[in-house]
Assembly symmetry: C2
Homo-oligomer: 281 residues x 2
């Protein structure tokens, strides 16, 4: 389901819907309430898909076209597993989880991104995500108080970027400017979106994400179907299982203190894997 | 007009509408576009009111009930002028502007809030807004690099709070816990909302704002009417003129680097005064 400031809640263990034909979603608005008075409302578009990618229930407009943004990260991390790069460079499970992260820039995130780069034999200067202070106010404070300054390694997407650099090196591609649409790394990412969505490349609007790499838009029902199929593949022990296991066993690495993805997976254990994206996905 | 991530654009000089009966607003959605593809949409509710507070045009639902949040600050600063407190303590025009600010915590803002408190003979520890790092990343960096830590004085509402403390002292009230709903300062603020909105107190939902003081909800058309009347009063040289002059002549003090209010007033000069509020007001 996608909420405006939202979540991808993807049950990857089989879920018994009470009655698929009668499943109803009843939330249509998210209300922001202050002192008992509704302050603002956000419309919800949501789709539930079954393991075959068929829509089971929807509210709002299930054909709403929007970008995956960071919710695509579990799909984008999959080539690291399938191409044997994560294994070859000896990524830990926590490091694979970090490749799927929108993180707070806390020590385990920054150390993890550095470790991924070191294992791939890559220099931090290859990173093409922008420099910003750690999202975590505590981590930002520590960095600045110790005389440091915001770096690309602190970017909330640095794990994904480090993983993309490792993918390039692991597959023998020049990692320089791995973020450009024409680079083999980004071409590989397009293939993942095509694979899970079942859409043709020319049907998938692409743009530049906030962190500089290519991002992908599909209708919401297609997005739900992609993640349902991915979850089913994980359930059947395919390579996606490694990504899902990494995320659900290392929720902190997927976000950090106070992040929704982290909090949900810490509570839900291995029953749910979650990745939110910007702009309410 | 109120936009979701929005503005109060209040023309305080008389505006000649081309034809009041035919004025039409044509924006109904704000679209967030990424690479030519619409990523998300925000509905717009907007009301234009004339100097008598009559609605001239509207889109969406003009009766939408929402909180003023920080957009109320120009109304909340008015008692400092009307009660003679700003004059008695010798506030500069820039300091009066700061009382209306949602600021970035840059040096002029922090120095201004300290100056207001000093002129009123008040200690910084009286502030009841929460401590947070300056919104400005540069200012936050400087603070922490110099061994400082986030204080209440850096809160984006510290100018308003310093003004409220000064109001209490100037009127002979105990300034301690000036933020509580039952304190004479907050009772005085309620009177301003009643005065400009024309609503009865029991019709105005109240809650606690993010910075700890009372905030007020009215329908959007009433909010527009309040600001239109306030603008008209300023235009006629009433006390509101001092607040409007302070804001339009010191736009930096109302926000700071990169803030919408500051940017608009720097461009518009004295033709428009602007104050946005949280949650899209």
């Amino acid at each position: 389901m996608a909420y405006p400031r939202g979540y991808f809640l993807v049950p990857w263990k089989s879920v018994d819907f009470p009655d698929e034909d009668s499943l109803e979603l009843s939330v249509s608005d998210v209300e922001v309430v202050r002192g008992g008075t509704v302050e603002s409302r956000h419309r919800v578009h949501a789709v539930v898909a079954d393991a075959d990618g068929r829509p089971v229930a929807a509210i709002g407009d299930p054909k709403t076209l929007t970008f995956h943004r960071s919710a695509a990260k579990p799909l984008q991390a999959l080539p690291l597993v399938e191409e044997g790069v994560a294994e070859r460079f000896g990524f830990s499970q926590a490091e694979l989880a970090l490749c799927c992260a929108s993180h707070e820039g806390e020590a385990p995130h920054v150390d993890g991104a550095r470790s991924i780069l070191a294992k791939a034999g890559a220099d931090e200067s290859l990173l093409r995500c922008g420099a910003h202070l750690p999202y975590s106010e505590a981590a930002a404070g520590e960095l600045l108080a110790s005389g440091g300054s915001p770096g690309r390694i602190h970017n909330n997407c640095s794990g994904k970027h480090a993983g993309m650099i490792a993918l390039a090196i692991g597959l023998g591609w020049d990692p320089v400017d791995y973020h450009r649409a024409e680079h083999p790394v980004q071409r590989r990412m397009v293939r993942e979106i095509i694979r899970w969505s079942g859409m043709a490349e020319e049907e998938i609007p692409m743009a530049v994400d906030g962190c500089g790499v290519v991002c992908f838009a599909t209708p919401l029902d297609v997005m739900a179907a992609s993640f349902a199929r991915y979850s089913a593949a994980a359930d059947e022990g395919e390579a996606a299982a490694d990504v899902v296991a990494a995320m659900t066993r290392h929720p902190f690495m997927v976000g950090g203190t106070g992040r929704t993805c982290t909090d949900v997976m810490e509570v839900a254990g291995d029953r749910v894997f979650v990745k939110l994206g910007a702009e309410g996905v």
